[in-house]
Amino acid sequence: MKKDLNFELNILPVLDILSVLICFLLLTAVWMHLGTIDTKQAIGDNAASGEKNPPSLWVTLAKDGSIQLSLRDVTKAKSLEDSISKLSTGVNWAALESKIQALKEELPDLRTTVVRPEAQTSYGDVIRVMDQLKKYQFEGVGLSPLG
């Protein structure tokens, strides 16, 4: 007597297990939120177009972590040339923040800033400087190419 070959594959429990596995994988996956820091880069030459440059803050970031701040094209008779010494850990972020805050309180119309890093400056430090500037309502944050 031959054996019966007809059988039914019970697919629903298999689908259930699969669905639960997908849920598990989704829950354990790394969901990383991504943001961006926006910059508006200069195109061409402003001097050629004859436009007057807006008052701006120039932040020069050295490789070792020291920072120089300077004001340009400010209508007031004030000029600023300030530097922030580095710490043993790198950039003195607290000092930079307090200086930016003080500057913004003194010149609230100052909105443009240019960050000038050196060739070997860490990209992370550049972004952090830009982040600090954005925090204090500097809208036109630009990056200067290497000289």
Binding site: M1, D16, H33, I43
Partner: protein, 162 residues
């Protein structure tokens, strides 16, 4: 009894489980007849799981889905803004430039960006993904190429710290 009749008489246990039957005792005309289909619970669980997955994806990823290479550690920032539309991505990895996952030689960067700008209907934005420990010198060619191509909006990818 022949074997063929045995096969044809066999009922599916799955269908049997899904149907409500009478008590088994003789109940006149409807005796042994299927009364109604029972609730197929397994299928409902399946559908429920799919809805859960859909909701998980919908709520957790918020804006546009973007791939970030596992070899890159993005810098953190407090003021990062979310990405609301698909934009071209330029990844810098060990001095190599990848525009939308395609390796671009440094010398051809300006031409490729100019091509991107001519193809675009609206103003071009470029998302830059680079490692936090990268030297600024590696970013410099991109800034120059972007300036040459006339791209002024650069968006640096960061991981929000707040």
């Amino acid at each position: 009894m022949k074997k063929s009749s045995l096969v044809t008489q066999r009922k599916s246990p799955l269908l049997a489980a899904m149907s409500l039957k009478g008590s088994g005792k003789s109940q006149g005309h409807g005796a042994g007849k299927e009364l109604a289909l029972a609730l197929p619970l397994t299928s409902l669980i399946d559908a429920f799981c799919i809805i859960v997955i859909y909701l998980l994806i919908g709520t957790q990823s918020g804006g546009v889905e973007t791939n970030v290479s596992s070899k890159i550690t993005l810098p953190g920032a407090e003021t990062g803004v979310s990405i609301e539309k698909e934009i071209a991505t330029l990844r810098i990895e060990k001095g190599n430039y990848f525009l939308d996952e395609k390796l671009i030689p440094k010398s051809a960067l300006a031409a490729k960006l100019a091509e991107l700008k001519t193809k675009a209907v609206q103003s071009v934005e470029l998302m830059v993904q680079a490692d936090t420990n990268m030297a600024y010198a590696d970013l410099d060619p991109l800034l120059r190429a972007g300036s040459e191509a006339g791209i002024e909006n650069l968006r640096f990818a960061v991981t929000p710290t707040r």
